[in-house]
C-alpha cells in the first residue's frame, strides 16, 4: 500500500466566487446642496472585498454669489469602528473650472460589515458644481 500526502490549497481570493462591485455618482451643474451620501457599499456576511479604485472630484461650473466650500469625499467605516476619510476633494475657489481631485488604487481590504460611502456638499449660495465620487472593487468568499 502506498500512502500519499495530498496537498489541498485554498483558492486565491479572486477564485472564491468573485463578484465585481461598483458605485458612484457623477453630475454637473449641481446647485449648492446639503451634505448627501450619494452611494454606499457594505460587505455582506461571509464575504470580504478588495477596494481596487476610488476617486473623488469637485469642480466649479459657475461662480457662486456667496462662496462656500465644495467637497466630495469617501469614508471608510470599519464594522463597529469610527469613520475615516481616505479620499477628500475640497474646493474653496470661486474661479470657473477650479477643481480638486483625489484618488487611490489597490490599497484597501474590506471585511464583513465594513462600509464605504461617497458624499458631496456645497454650502455656497448660487453657482453650480461638477461632482464625481465612485469606487470599484471585488467581493469574494471570506
Amino acid at each position: 500500500m502506498r500512502l500519499q500526502h495530498v496537498l489541498v490549497t485554498r483558492p486565491d481570493w479572486f477564485d472564491r466566487n468573485p463578484t465585481a462591485q461598483s458605485g458612484g455618482y457623477v453630475a454637473s451643474s449641481v446647485a449648492p446642496h446639503a451634505l448627501t451620501q450619494r452611494w454606499t457599499y457594505t460587505v455582506a456576511t461571509g464575504k470580504k472585498a478588495i477596494l481596487q479604485t476610488a476617486i473623488c472630484i469637485v469642480q466649479r461650473d459657475s461662480v457662486a454669489s456667496v462662496l462656500g466650500a465644495q467637497s466630495s469625499y469617501m469614508r471608510y467605516i470599519p464594522s463597529g469602528g469610527s469613520a475615516v476619510r481616505p479620499l477628500y476633494a475640497y474646493n474653496t475657489s470661486n474661479t470657473l473650472s477650479a477643481a480638486q481631485s483625489n484618488n487611490i488604487g489597490a490599497t484597501m481590504a474590506l471585511l464583513a460589515g465594513d462600509q464605504i460611502d461617497g458624499s458631496t456638499l456645497d454650502d455656497s449660495t448660487g453657482g453650480t458644481g461638477f461632482y464625481l465620487t465612485s469606487f470599484q472593487g471585488i467581493q469574494f468568499d471570506a
Binding site: G23, A27, V30, P32, T40, Y41, T45, S79, L111, L121
Partner: protein
Amino acid sequence: MRKRLPLSHDADRSWHVDLPTYSMIPGTCLPITLGLIDKNGILALADTAAALALNPSVECDIPDDTPMTDPATIDAAKMRERYREHPRFKRPDWTPPKIL
C-alpha cells in the same frame, strides 16, 4: 435594479438612503420644491424638517440580488442576516425603506 426610495436624514450621514448598498441616480430627486429640494438633492440652505415633511425621494441602483418579499418590499429579516456584522443593519429595529 433601479428603484425609487425615500431620502432619510441623520446626524452621521446627513441626507441618505437607509440601505447598506446603493448608488443615487443624478437628477432624480423629488418633489422639486423652490428653496428646498432640487433635482440633485436637498438644497444647502433648506430647513431639514421642512424638507423631510415633503417626503423626498430619489432613484437608486440597488443590488439585483436584494431579497424582496414582494415588488415593493425589501425582506428585512434576510437583510439583517446578510449584514449581521454591521452595527446598524443587523439590528431588529432597523427596517429597510419602502420602495416607492
